[in-house]
Subunit: 366 residues, 2 copies
Amino acid sequence: MPSKLPDVDPFRPPVEGGHSLSDVVQEELEAFAAHQHEVLAEAGSELVPFVDAALSCVRGGKRLRAAYCYWGWRAAGGDPGERRVLAAAASLEWLHSSALVHDDVMDGSDVRRGRPAVHREFEARHRAGGWAGDPVAFGVSAAILLGDVMLSWADEMFRACGLDCDAVIAAEPCLDACKTEVIAGQFLDVVTQSNRGASVETAMRVIRYKSAKYTVERPLHLGATLAGAGPDLLRLLSAYAIPVGDAFQLRDDVLGVFGDPEVTGKPAGDDLREGKRTVLVARALDRATPQDRAELVAGLGAADLAGPRLLRLRDIIAGTGALAAVETQIADLETAAATALATIAMDPTTRSALSGLAALSTRRHR
Amino acid sequence: MPSKLPDVDPFRPPVEGGHSLSDVVQEELEAFAAHQHEVLAEAGSELVPFVDAALSCVRGGKRLRAAYCYWGWRAAGGDPGERRVLAAAASLEWLHSSALVHDDVMDGSDVRRGRPAVHREFEARHRAGGWAGDPVAFGVSAAILLGDVMLSWADEMFRACGLDCDAVIAAEPCLDACKTEVIAGQFLDVVTQSNRGASVETAMRVIRYKSAKYTVERPLHLGATLAGAGPDLLRLLSAYAIPVGDAFQLRDDVLGVFGDPEVTGKPAGDDLREGKRTVLVARALDRATPQDRAELVAGLGAADLAGPRLLRLRDIIAGTGALAAVETQIADLETAAATALATIAMDPTTRSALSGLAALSTRRHR
């Protein structure tokens, strides 16, 4: 059946004569930020770089969540050319940037999308200005506040999308769930990282909340609910969304160890250096010989992990069969998602787009 | 005229037979948290202490913002016995706790309301459990995420207050402004603290955003808008709210230097030890002799500031006349607020309550 579907670019829905979804999302974000510039200019010129930094954060994302939101809208029969659903979808980008900025503070990450992380950027400004106090603390404070304001803007922009207010009210609980679940998933992740015995089961639970629901299921529900979807359709969409979302994060875990830094924009082996107990790592620890296991445990979280030692840890992980097992798991999840998608009634364009999004989410290189 | 007003306890409006505002707010917060317990139990039992910690944060606050919200509702003619406006008002407590938890991380404060700050509490749990990794980083991560979830809950609880949805929609921009302005004020504060030459003007601007609008004006607007107030009434309320709010924070600045730790729940001279460039400090620096000025600058931000050296800095500040000047400023602001209040048409009970709240906000000892 998939072979009969039209060839649809999920990022190029028919909105305003061929503008891409990413372009429209960016325009909406810039318009919203311009409004915030005005609001905050009253507080003082010191706020200008603050709003600018927020706008920088939302530039250049993959727009996956916005795309799932738009195609959720379409799956529920929403008007293909409705620009306002993309304004609603764009609000998810503030939420996502908020999560990334706070995540980088918590992980002590220096780099995001090939650029300095926000806390490092503000730290550098502090140093360059020769200001008083601790530059590191200043950077962390600015990043905490920037994440806060973007989290707040997600709600504000969503509500101001301009769609019918009954639809907006009906969809708000999806946004609430999206926010609460991703924060809960992050907390679960932080607790799990502190627990030396993190199991595959726990790591899968982290994935479910931190990624699957947040990146795929809730954005899809959000768009579908805006178009009037009821609980039955949402349940069907979940059967597609959860496996895609799980596979999305499993792919992320693979890229975090084996990804090409030129493509991912993150240093090689970042997840290992940060000591992340991902599903991939948990599987490797389960299967490794005692000697390899000890070497892997010793290397996880080593701040200077690089070069031959990093390559050696990669070899251990691949050698246990964990990499192959995760790739099999990803393939099985793709099949489950495709099976679920086939049971949902929708137009061929939407079906093709959701099928394409699943492939993009799980087979990507960055 | 004030002498003819009835004697009204602003924290004991006629809701459900004599329950105090603080009791009803607490009940609403607990009911909301119980719901979140259910939502997050699905993610895992690890989330139970997370929700518990959020609930601990909102216990024992002064409920000033909730009270301003309720009396804003009353000022606009809202039904005195309407419990749902207190559910809406209670949502401000999540916002406030979020700001405090993130503030304590940014300031590196160890204590809040006489108890360990959230980041310190989670740090202690990490140590007690003998978990892996850095306890300090764990505490900071947990506190960042707890602040995030409470910020998100403010919106969710506000929308779920149960009042007419047109009223809720009309009032949401007040909540948005409240959130954006307090975060902007915090950023302005962080920037100002990094700027050795912080002037009285800049410090007043920080106060305006971080406190006056956030603690008094926006909560008052929120309640009034829920009851259908238009722009004219909001403007009149601002003329009362802004001076009260400015005076509220000036009182806070005085307590931060001269307050009794037994009453404030914070260590003596906390603001000086943190090196805060408050209006009080900016005025003292403006007026001090070169020698006193040098001594004050050297002591500001000294981590071990206590005992005779702290007393000496207090003497310098009082000796410059800055303390007296700030007390005069507070008194002038109280007069301005009372004059503005007198011009607004409202029932005597509400007038008395708002008059009482102004006094409580500006003459408090904690």
